[in-house]
Amino acid sequence: MRKFCTGNHAAGYVLAAAGEANRNARGCVAGGYPITPQTEIMEFLRGFRFTKGRVQAVESEHSAMAMCIGGSISGARTFTASSSNGLMYMAENVFMAGYCRLPVVLAAVNRTIGPPWNIWVDQGDTLALRDTAWLHFYCESHQEVADTILLAFRVAEDSRILLPAIVAFDGFIISHTSAPVDLPEQADVDRYLPPCHVPHRLDHDRPQMLGAMVTPEDTAAHRLELHEAMERVPAVLEQARDEFREVFGRQPDGAISGYRLEDAETVLVASNSIASTVRGVVDKRRRDGERVGMLKIKLFRPFPRHLIRQALKGAKRVGVIDRNVSLGSGGIFWLEICGALFNTPDLILQDYLTGLGGGDVTPEAVENILEDLLARRKSGEPCWKVKAYERMF
């Protein structure tokens, strides 16, 4: 059903529909704690009447994830939402959910980590959790948020994967902006998502302990097992996308998505809503005859190195737009792409840090980046384009 609503509303709606879809199995559980700019998601979930499920307001984000872990260990479908410092507060339990292979889905509304205090968008909060054995999806638009949440449940709960998933999207630009979305009907969600099955869930009839102490060798083996699960994600994601199209009649983007990339010499790599803005600039420059294209990275964990190498094979200049920074090194998407594209000596690969702390990334700012990229003779240190945008207020 087509609605005009905010990204938060869309996220809450789809999380609830997914939870409701598990009503004939072990239901759903969510622990929730408010934080700008995601609070409306939890408010929506708290107001939803689940046939078999419970959304519990708890006293902190750490407890919210604990609640999800408890629910998942019991075999329920679990989900929650958070941002920025809230994600940092829950971090310990985020590791636990990942390492214990509990398929929680977390709607993460990207927001700068403070201090200094800041409510606007920055990818640093979810990227700070990139080592936790969670899947990471970075969404460009309202529709992508709605669709990707369903993909996330489907992939995370798949018996070949059994890893939790973050679905990230921009605070305010998506979360608080109203735009058209096709929201799924409950019957279709019921068709799309199989019942949640957590094979290692705790059972009174088979008492066991989850997460007890092990030796270094067992830990290493355990990490390898998680790694192998990660390696299976791309194939399962493709299957999930195909099933999605069968049910909903459209196919959401996969791990990466190219825009006018086929013959592009100059490529901008972007994620989240900046990808939309870059599309507009690409169209404009194409009208002027330039061979410009965009690569959108949606799946960040597991990082689709091979797909990216493939997609950028023909490019001579690649500019990576990072609305985040790992201090002491550089933008995190760029760092990952460096890893993917090592041993490509003729390529100019340049990092552009912009929009940090939520600055407005305008088409002009993107063109500014493009000009810089075109003028370069070789790759350099990450370029801080923080003075490139004007005062927000």
């Binding site: 305010f172 608080h176 902006t177 109203s178 990334v361």
Partner: protein, 741 residues
């Protein structure tokens, strides 16, 4: 693509307006976007919201800097650069009662539309009068100038479930928006240049202080520091500055506390023992735990502090005071302090009035009374006892003195016909108490019945016990709940073995046939409808079951007293504060129970003091009556959570078994010590309602740091105060008010 910028203030509905405008386009099949810039999300803060609509997919996500149209929700936001970036020929829709031509000069080359959205929103009941929500109104105006149909507007409102007054406001604006095209003169092609970002270093300590934005302009209310009357001060019939003397005790300044009391009352030791303490009933501490024990603290101060020396002053006038009860003594005291020569004329053998003859010693020891009467006399007051003043004497006084104050109290006791005239076996309560004072009376072995429910009845029954009665029983026609006597006195009486028989009315006193004593025949009562006093009136239960005989040896009547007006000229009306009219000579005032029958020492003191002011004003022209009293601070403004619970300190009381064997003072008062710790701690339970103590809680809670203090005066920096109201809310004693702007 169409791009619209909305300028407004938090609370006017700017972001929702963006949604509504975008919704009109969405419902017509276009792609649309609506969002606000979120920062200081609070009432009054300036904000921007944006709308985009296009037939094709909208890829732009960033803020709009070169809109096609501009919508302004608040007139105060109109400055000369709000239209920067606005494309030439675009619409500017303004919330303003003025016609568009008023703005032509400011915005050449644009189309202007104005609508008085505030009035329409208020008329439709949207928001409040001070903060109307104007968005749906502006929606109507904007849709009209942009060429949308009203149906599109209605559809958008219905989609967001805005009906009724919202739809009506939109319709009115749609129909009445005024438009004008301004001449395309020098539309100075304003670029979208915004100021360059200036940033500060993390290590820079001085950055940002004071902030450049004077956020005081966002405020819709402003804090004011005020003083209020405390409920205890309001409730004291003597007019004492209760809050003031408690504050002195807090500072361990007992002599100052006594001085403060002495400004209004000469009898703190008396009131500290016998007052029913309406101040404690009114005390706002009742909302938290128990009231401050003001009565015991007044007593403690009177018993332990030293009074200041009486100042000598001399005026030419002499004043006569008739009656030396609390009203007369208070009038004499205040007139003496003002320098008048006062002579008290007392009919009895000793001064003190009902305090001496009507209140037993176990409640009010004689040394205490004598000491305070002595203090009154030190103020240039002389007294003559055994001087009854009748009509003739009064007329003479009015020639001899500059003014006369009559406070003879209630000398006549209400009688009751019980069928016999035997004055041994039926006595009036006041006369009984008077005789008990002589020390020659014994009721050994007698069974005493006391009729009545007031303090005199209770006093009489407790005195009877002490005089050896084998039984003392109060017979009352209503129930305990309706008894006007002080509750604690009734408690103490029952502890001492006094019996209470409720719902019985006396009918007749009959000697028993066999000669052993008497029987009081009584009528059983039940409670019926409330009477004038507000209490349920007793209704006789008829028939056999309605009668009951009580054996006794003596009946004491305590049924209330009346004033003896025989000393006034025929036809005089006695009213407090007014002189008797029709007399030549000095003005004659009346006060105390004679005039008002309030029945308490405190009320009498208040009456005496006011009489002194009336006399002083008449004789000197100086008006000492307070001009304007500040309103009483409401309990709702007291921040109870600022205080910790602490139980009330209580005075100790002698054990019943021991105390009935004498007339020694039953109540011992608060524990004493050299440092007066118990009293000081109890005084600290006082909230100091309505008066600033400089506690700085307001300053500590102000998020903006706009408060500064000198002594107990706070100043607010209104350039930065956003009117959040935290100072008013957190003030423990309700001293800060928010005024609407």
């Amino acid at each position: 693509m169409i791009e619209i910028v909305i300028l407004g203030r938090g609370g006017q509905g700017g972001v929702t307006l963006a949604k509504l405008i975008a919704m009109t386009y969405f419902l017509q099949g276009q792609d649309a976007q609506a969002f606000g810039v979120y920062a200081a999300e609070r009432s009054g803060a300036p904000l921007r919201a944006f709308v985009r609509a296009d037939n094709q997919e909208i890829l732009c996500r960033n803020q709009i800097t070169e809109p096609d149209h501009l919508v302004v929700l608040d007139r105060t936001l109109v400055t000369d650069h709000i239209a920067s970036g606005l494309k030439p020929g675009g619409w500017i829709v303004l919330n303003s009662p003025d016609p568009p031509s008023v703005f032509a000069g400011e915005f050449p080359g644009y189309r202007i539309a104005t609508i008085d959205a505030n009035s329409i929103a208020i008329a439709c009941g949207l928001g409040t009068r001070t903060t109307p929500i104007v968005n749906t109104t502006i929606l109507g105006a904007t849709a009209r100038v942009l060429g949308e149909t009203f149906e599109a507007v209605r559809a958008a409102l219905e989609e967001l479930k805005f009906v009724g007054p919202n739809l009506e406001s939109a319709r009115r604006a749609y129909e009445t928006v005024s438009v004008a095209e301004t001449p395309a003169g020098t539309c100075s092609a304003r670029s979208s240049s915004r100021s360059v970002v200036t940033t500060m270093s993390i290590l820079d300590p001085d950055a940002g202080i004071p902030p450049q934005t004077q956020t005081g302009s966002w405020a819709r209310q402003k804090p004011m520091q005020r003083s209020f009357t405390s409920p205890c001060n309001q409730g004291c019939p003597a007019g004492n500055d209760v809050r003031g003397f408690l504050a002195a005790i807090k500072e361990k300044q007992f002599d100052l506390a006594l001085e403060i009391l002495h400004r209004t009352t000469p009898l703190p030791g008396v009131c500290g023992r016998v007052c029913p303490a309406p101040c404690m009933d009114a005390c706002h501490r009742n909302e938290l735990d128990e009231p401050v024990n003001i009565r015991e603290l007044e007593r403690y101060v009177a018993d332990h502090a030293s009074p200041a020396a009486a100042a000598a002053m001399n005026r030419n006038h002499a004043v006569a005071v008739i009656g030396s009860g609390p009203a007369g003594l208070a009038a004499a005291y205040h007139l003496g302090r003002l320098g008048y020569g006062v002579t008290i004329f007392e009919a009895g053998s000793e001064l003190g009035g009902v305090m001496r003859t009507g209140i037993p010693e176990y409640r009010l020891p004689r040394p205490v009374l004598d000491r305070e009467i002595e203090h009154v006399l030190e103020h240039g007051v002389t007294a003559q006892t055994r001087c009854k003043v009748g009509k003739t004497e009064l007329l003479k006084f009015s020639q001899r003195f500059a003014a006369v104050f009559v406070a003879t109290g209630l000398q006549e006791a209400r009688a009751l016909n019980l069928g016999i005239q035997d004055s041994t076996h039926i006595m009036q309560g006041i006369a009984f108490l008077d005789e008990a004072l002589t020390g020659h009376m014994s009721l050994k072995g007698e069974r005493i019945i006391v009729l009545g429910g007031g303090n005199t009845a209770v006093d009489a029954s407790r005195t009877a016990i002490r005089l050896g009665a084998s039984e003392a029983c109060i017979v009352y026609r209503r129930t305990r709940a309706e008894m006007p006597a002080i509750k604690e006195e009734v408690d103490e009486a029952l502890e001492e073995g006094v019996l209470l028989k409720e719902l019985l009315g006396p009918v007749a006193l009959n000697r028993n046939g066999n000669g052993s004593g008497w029987t009081l025949e009584c009528q059983r009562m039940r409670l019926g409808e409330p009477d004038q006093s507000g209490r349920r009136s007793p209704v006789a239960i008829e028939g056999e079951a309605g009668r009951l005989g009580l054996p006794c040896d003596r009946v004491i009547l305590a049924l209330g007293q009346l004033g003896d007006l025989s000393l006034f000229p025929e036809g005089s009306e006695v009213r407090e504060g007014e002189t008797l009219i029709g007399l030549t000579g000095a003005p004659i005032f009346a006060g105390g129970d004679l005039a008002s029958n309030e029945g308490t020492v405190a009320a009498a003191i208040g009456s005496g003091r006011k009489a002194a002011w009336h006399i002083h004003r008449t004789l000197s022209g100086e008006d000492l009556f307070p001009k304007e009293t500040a309103p009483v601070v409401s309990a709702a403004t007291i921040r109870l959570t600022a205080f910790q619970r602490a139980s009330q300190a209580r005075g100790s009381i002698l054990e019943p078994a021991g105390r009935i064997r004498s007339f020694n003072e039953v109540r011992v008062g608060l524990s004493e010590s050299a440092d007066h710790e118990v009293a000081v701690l109890e005084s600290q339970r006082c909230f100091t309602c309505g008066a600033c103590t400089g506690c700085d809680i307001c300053r500590a809670n102000c998020p903006e740091g706009v408060l500064t203090r000198r002594g107990t005066d706070y100043a607010f920096d209104y350039d930065y105060c956003k009117g959040c109201g935290l100072c008013a809310f957190e003030c423990p004693r309700g001293v800060i008010l928010m005024e609407q702007l």
